[in-house]
C-alpha cells in the first residue's frame, strides 16, 4: 500500500509520525529514496512518497538530504517526565 505523506493527512497523531512531503516542491532528485536507512521512500510519478509509515524511525535523514526543503520532519517540543 502506498500512503501519501503530504499534509500529514494520513497520520494518526498519537502513533506513527512520518515526514511531511510537499510534492509541489519535490524535484524528483531521489536523495530521500537513497538516504532513507529503512528504504521506505520511493518516487511515484516523480514525487517522493513514504510507502511504509510504520517503519519510519523519524531519523530525519530524508529531510537533511532534500535539496528543495520538500520533506520536513518537524519536532514537537513538550515538557514531560523521563520515560524510564
Amino acid at each position: 500500500m502506498v500512503m501519501k505523506a503530504s499534509g500529514g493527512e494520513h497520520r494518526a497523531r498519537c502513533c506513527v509520525a512520518i515526514p511531511e512531503i510537499d510534492t509541489s516542491k519535490c524535484i524528483s532528485c531521489g536523495n530521500c529514496v537513497e538516504e532513507c536507512p529503512v528504504g521506505i521512500v520511493t518516487l511515484v510519478d516523480g514525487k517522493a512518497v513514504i510507502t511504509n509509515p510504520e517503519a519510519c524511525s523519524y531519523c530525519t535523514e530524508c529531510e537533511s538530504f532534500c535539496p528543495s526543503a520538500a520533506i520536513r520532519c518537524p519536532i514537537e517540543i513538550v515538557l514531560g517526565a523521563p520515560e524510564s
Binding site: 509520525a17 530525519t60 520536513r72 518537524p74 514537537e76 517540543i77 513538550v78 515538557l79
Partner: protein, 229 residues
C-alpha cells in the same frame, strides 16, 4: 607543471628568502590535485608538510570525539594551511577537504624546517607560537559549540509546553531551530544529542521531551558565566 618562482615569492612565508632557498623549495614542492569532497589531509595523521592552494578552495575543520565539525578556515588561492604541525612537531590539528576541484602545493615538512634551520632562536619561538595556536584552535571550536548548545537549551526552555488539551504544541524542524540560534542543521543535531546525553531532554520519534528543564537552565547559566569578564 613546475611551480613558478614568482608564485612562491608571492607567499608571505617565502617573500624574504634568498634565491637559493626559493629554488630549493621549488625543487621539493609537490603538486597535488583533488576532486570535490576529496580529503586533502586528516586530523591526527602525521604531518607531511605545509600546504598552499594553487586553485580551488579547501575547507579546514576540526572534529570532536562525538563527530561534530568546526570549520576553522576556507583556504583559497595563495593561502596556506597546516602550518602549525610543521613547526610544533605534532600531528595534523585539523582535516581538510576540497570544496571544489582544487590543486594544492605541498611543501614537505623537512624543506619548510630547513628554511629556519640556521636560526635556532627563531625556530624555538615559532615552536612556542605554533603550540599556542594549536591549543587556541581547540578552545575556539569548543567555545563555539558550547554557545550553540546553550542557545538551543534556551530555545527549548522558551518553547516547551506541557501537553494539555487546547494548548498548541510548538513544532520546529532542525533547520528552523538552526535559523533561530544562528547555526546550521548539522551542529544543531549534535547539540540535541549532547543535551540528550546530558539527560536534559529525550527525543522520542517526532517528539522532543524536555525532561529536566533545570539541567537546560544550568547549561545556559554556566555558559553565560563563562563569558563574563
Amino acid at each position: 607543471m613546475a611551480v613558478s618562482t614568482d608564485f612562491l615569492r608571492s607567499l608571505p612565508y617565502l617573500a624574504n628568502l634568498a634565491a637559493d632557498d626559493v629554488e630549493r623549495v621549488r625543487r621539493d614542492i609537490l603538486e597535488l590535485s583533488f576532486d570535490k569532497d576529496e580529503f586533502v589531509l586528516l586530523e591526527g595523521e602525521p604531518c607531511r608538510g605545509l600546504y598552499v592552494v594553487k586553485s580551488g578552495r579547501i575547507r579546514i575543520f576540526k572534529s570532536s570525539p562525538e563527530g561534530r565539525e568546526h570549520v576553522l578556515l576556507v583556504a583559497g588561492a595563495g593561502e596556506s594551511f597546516n602550518d602549525v604541525p610543521v613547526f610544533d612537531d605534532g600531528p595534523n590539528p585539523a582535516s581538510g577537504t576540497a570544496l571544489e576541484p582544487s590543486v594544492v602545493y605541498l611543501i614537505p615538512k623537512k624543506t619548510a624546517l630547513a628554511l629556519v634551520a640556521d636560526c635556532p632562536a627563531a625556530l624555538g619561538i615559532i615552536r612556542v607560537f605554533a603550540a599556542r595556536l594549536r591549543r587556541l584552535a581547540t578552545v575556539v571550536s569548543d567555545l563555539s559549540f558550547r554557545s550553540v548548545v546553550s542557545r538551543i537549551a534556551k530555545l527549548l526552555l522558551e518553547m516547551a509546553v506541557a501537553e494539555q488539551a487546547g494548548t498548541p504544541i510548538p513544532r520546529l524542524t532542525q533547520d528552523e531551530m538552526a535559523a533561530r540560534v544562528g547555526s546550521v542543521r548539522d551542529v544543531v543535531g549534535r547539540a540535541l544529542r549532547t543535551l540528550e546525553k546530558a539527560g536534559a531532554i529525550e527525543i522520542r520519534g517526532q517528539r522532543l521531551v524536555v525532561t529536566q528543564p533545570q539541567k537546560l537552565l544550568m547549561l545556559v547559566e554556566d555558559y553565560d558565566k563563562s563569558r563574563m569578564p
